[in-house]
Amino acid sequence: MVKELVDMSTRERIHAIRDLPMSFEEKKSIRSQVLAFKSANQSPHFTGFRDFTENASVTLRRWGYSVRSARQTLQLWQGTMKEIGGRFGTSVLTYFMFLKWLLVFNVVSFLINFGFITIPLLVHDHTPNLPPNVNFRGLEILTGAGYFNYTVMYYGSYSNETLVGLGEYNLQLAYFFTISLYMVLCGVALIFSMAKSFKENYVLSDPASSSAWQILCSWDFSIVNERAITQRKNNLSVQLKESLSEGAQTEMLTRSEKMKHFGIHLGSWLLSTSLAFGCGSGIYFLCQTTDDSSWTPLQEAETLLVPFVVSLMNLVVPLFYSLFNKFEVYSNQRKQIYVLLVRNVILKISILSILCYYWMQVVAKKFSCWESMVGQALYRLVLFDFLFLMLGSFFGEFLRKWLLPNLGVPEFDVARNVFELIYAQTLVWIGIYFSPLLPVIQILKCFIFFYVKKVSLAQNCQPPRRTGRAAQMQTILIALLFFPSFVGALSIVAYTAWSLTPSKQCGPFRGLNNTFGAVGIWIDNLQQSSSSYWVIWIYHHVIRSEVFYFFLALIVIIIIYIFWQVTQGRKQLIVQLRQQIVN
């Protein structure tokens, strides 16, 4: 083995030594043997150069280690995570880790937008051009209109000029390219994390219900709180007893019982979908009636009605869904959770699509500076979502403990909380085109939420009773973040950029037929100045030609088909090998 280790490169050798299942003493002796072997076998030629490279690689490795150490000092909330994991286990910790990831994500998006779009504008001209007698009243924080309408918060205040300062900075192009780059980066980051999650966590068979898994793989070593451990032990005994008694019975449902169950399922699905569509149409009518652009304070307060109702629906209707769930009978618990999740997704999709339809079709044609209006509406939605989540946490967890103690201590519902975070992030993604600084609110939200949920968890909740397939749940939730959330937001922004006419008086794309026209103008300018031929060539022959996309799609489909066949072949191989082991 020493010989194999000598032949590897330094990095591989370190990885191989670390992965050896031996005691530390043995690893150290192997390592010193390998190093001695390497130094003894060096040829006498070029010793100076070799010493130099050796020293350089050692220094480089040490420098890499110190970079890792430094990165660790920047880790936020390490101690709190350890505490939470110690008391509630790993599945609850996934919520907080997701919250932290979302916070970092939004900080990066804020920095991108602020750096490339807002700072040049602020440097060039940092006073907002307010019309007379508009000054800051308190109501702006809630409505987002009024004074805020003229600041860099919204699309409307960005100019379409080329700023001349230290150099030329085309704000129109910068806006377009920054938003597209941001969307592309988000998509890439999400695809990678989803692929990684699928690779590690998604397993086709389900051993979670087997006793072997429960005893040998499911004990959470990171729980250190004595009460939590006692509780886990009790839960495990209960589950084992249940599984023993389940094995003894065999349930045969009669035909009439099956029909009854089917009827109940059908009824609940119909009821929940009609509830979702009812909410959507209600929102649409409400939008149409509160549709004035006059600026009296009363009518400004009326604009708060729509987000209020939306957040109220988002809070109340899922409770109805959980109620329906209690009447239904499911064969296993995971199906129950997934059905609940699907219904909630349908509700949120219908509400968001109605709102987007209203904004794209009605607001865009009616108002002069419609992008800022859409931005304001999104700001109000995000804000009210935050307020209602806080209220929901307060009523759901705190008050329930004080006023209704006989309902039992609530469990921390990871799926529902993560879903709410995904919804909030969808709103931010839709709004990034209309209000580039919306990630700021999301950052504040994540930050405050961490502490609120931490306190609520500590005071009020107990660890989840069923130690289920946390990893698979995490995969499903990340997949949920991508479809339909990001794809939906991306398609809305793309539709806006491609088909809708930007407003004529405000914003960086004023006067153009559509947003993408900015790129067209730039290409024309480049052609006239007759430089960078390759950019022009790429634009005309790649981006604007349909044949290119057709061929790209064809190639992707062929690659997917090949990989799929390879997977099928491997599955068959596994079956054959398993047969061989048994025989």
Binding site: I17, R18, D19, P21, S23, F24, E25, K27, K28, R31, V58, R62, Y65, S66, R68, S69, A70, Q72, T73, K82, G85, G86, T90, E200, N201, V203, P207, A208, S210, S211, A212, W213, I215, L216, C217, S218, W219, F221, S222, V224, N225, E226, I229, T230, K233, N234, L236, S237, L240, K241, S243, L244, G247, R469, A470, A471, Q472, R578, I581, V582
Partner: protein, 187 residues
Amino acid sequence: MGNKQSIFTAQQLDAYQDCTYFTRKEILRLFYRYRDLAPQLVPLDYTRPDVKLPYELIGSMPELKDNPFRQRIAEVFSEDGQGNMTLDDFLDMFSVLSEMAPRDLKAYYAFKIYADFNNDDFICKSDLEKTLNKLTRNELTEDEVRMVCEKVIDEADLDNDGRLSLEDFQHMIVRAPEFLSTFHIRI
């Protein structure tokens, strides 16, 4: 930060960093945790690398105090098999139990922790019974314990020899991706 620590030489730190999954900062922090268990036994500059802390001190750490497997963990990672750990064993233990250790390494040590109450490199029924009793605080009756153990052997034994080998265990771990996050102690 800088290189101004006087506990380890640079070569020793290199060896630690190469053989465990910890960074320099974590190694120093772990050294201080180790020392805090018995300040009078452990010198401040690692001149006596053969100092062994008895199992009672290791088992009293807050991370291990209530863990039902703490004794087996200490026995598996200690050199003498009794749970008395040197600093090297201590670092090794937390390195394998950290989140950066790969699945196969964790599976190997988890197998040794659950098995080998009778030192035969297999998980047999008596090992399973002992593990089950540790996990359920003796709440199951004898019959129930026996039935559960039989069920486990049925489900996980691939080569049908009545006991679980390391390969059977690894096969089960491959299909349980949460194992990586549950077999993890934060320090």
